[in-house]
Symmetry: C2
Subunit: 214 residues, 2 copies
């Protein structure tokens, strides 16, 4: 072996990573309820830009925790985000994750209407009759359609995690969300992703689960 | 609507994104076979650091394409990476994606041996008798174990995509891979992730599929 590895037991790797992130953030402080989210996103990406990019409305974290505790549905805009969310913890609260992107009828309707599948997915989310978190890490068209539906009073998520990534209408879709009433967590700028959406959901889930135990 | 959106048809969003990435890369040039991979990773992360981070051995892309064309197995170290890989295109070549991380017997064995599930997963991969691509976007312990098994002659992947993300032994695991013979694509430094691993696989799949059609 030509490289020296740190000896860290499997169960301690995450805690050690969080210590290193905290140390590297130095004097930067975050509101107590936001810190676990910011740190988990940095843990997922190794990208400290998220210490500056992430924007929270005042009640965003509490709204997310409350929705989780009431057994909410988390709707994602990719199977990847769905896959990354801790369904064991979510399931303990009676919640589940749904993603409509691969549903054949969604693809068919999107094609017929010349819109993205993500657009149609948000309409499916609006038809759900349960507490809802939207976790959007990919498609700005999903976020734009969600904003339209919220404005029309047809979609009332407890929390919107608006972290699409990319180059076409991504920045704009997130700025649009920031003009809306309601509770949001947004990664301003181009960055974000399915991994970031899942990390934010998991940070909320672990906080909810931790508080539960206390 | 308080934000002006660009009017881009759903089918054109990706092409437009790639144009913007190419424009922003300016004078930066990449070997022809590597450019689609670098650009797809930037497309997935909106992070231009990958223009500098990604390191390719001389035959890496050709080895990956050859493995895909021969119906290889891609083994990932997260369900998220597995979820993000285009299985329709891979399936056309007779390939499939496997991830052993959630297998109950892997968890059991890892616990008994006090190693990570990722370590045991690589041993499962070594037991496969088919052309193999390892796509590791999460666990440095997977990458370290893969290097040990390669050194012992027990694992012979056509290509290792070594892009774990994080803070504990991540940099070291990737530097270790770079000392090994064989073909690799590595994201040097702390950055990487399941999304990056999937993006590299998809770039290879689309190149293989495109060349097929010509």
């Amino acid at each position: 072996m030509k490289v020296t590895l740190q000896r860290v037991a499997p169960g301690d790797i995450e805690a050690r990573s969080m210590e290193l992130i905290t140390a590297e953030l130095g004097d930067r402080t975050f509101p107590a309820e936001q810190a676990p989210i910011v740190k988990r996103v940095i843990h997922t990406t190794a990208d400290f830009d998220y210490a500056d990019n992430l924007v929270f409305t005042a009640g965003a974290v509490e709204a997310g925790l409350c929705a989780i505790r009431s057994g909410c549905v988390i709707v994602t805009d990719t199977q990847m985000a769905r896959s990354g969310i801790n369904k064991t913890v979510l399931g303990k609260f009676g919640g589940e994750v749904l993603c409509f992107m691969s549903d054949p009828d969604v693809a068919q309707e999107a094609k017929a209407r010349r819109v993205t599948r993500a657009t149609v997915s948000m309409e499916r989310a609006a038809a759900l009759d349960r507490p809802l978190i939207l976790a959007l890490g990919n498609a700005p068209t999903a976020l734009v359609r969600a904003c339209e539906l919220m404005e029309a009073g047809k979609l009332r998520p407890a929390l919107v995690i608006g972290v699409p990534v990319g180059f076409v209408n991504v920045v704009e879709s997130k700025e649009l969300l920031l003009t809306m009433p309601g509770e949001h967590i947004v990664a301003r700028g181009r960055k974000g992703g399915s991994n970031v959406a899942a990390a934010i959901c998991n940070a909320l889930l672990y906080t909810a689960s931790h508080n539960e135990r206390e």
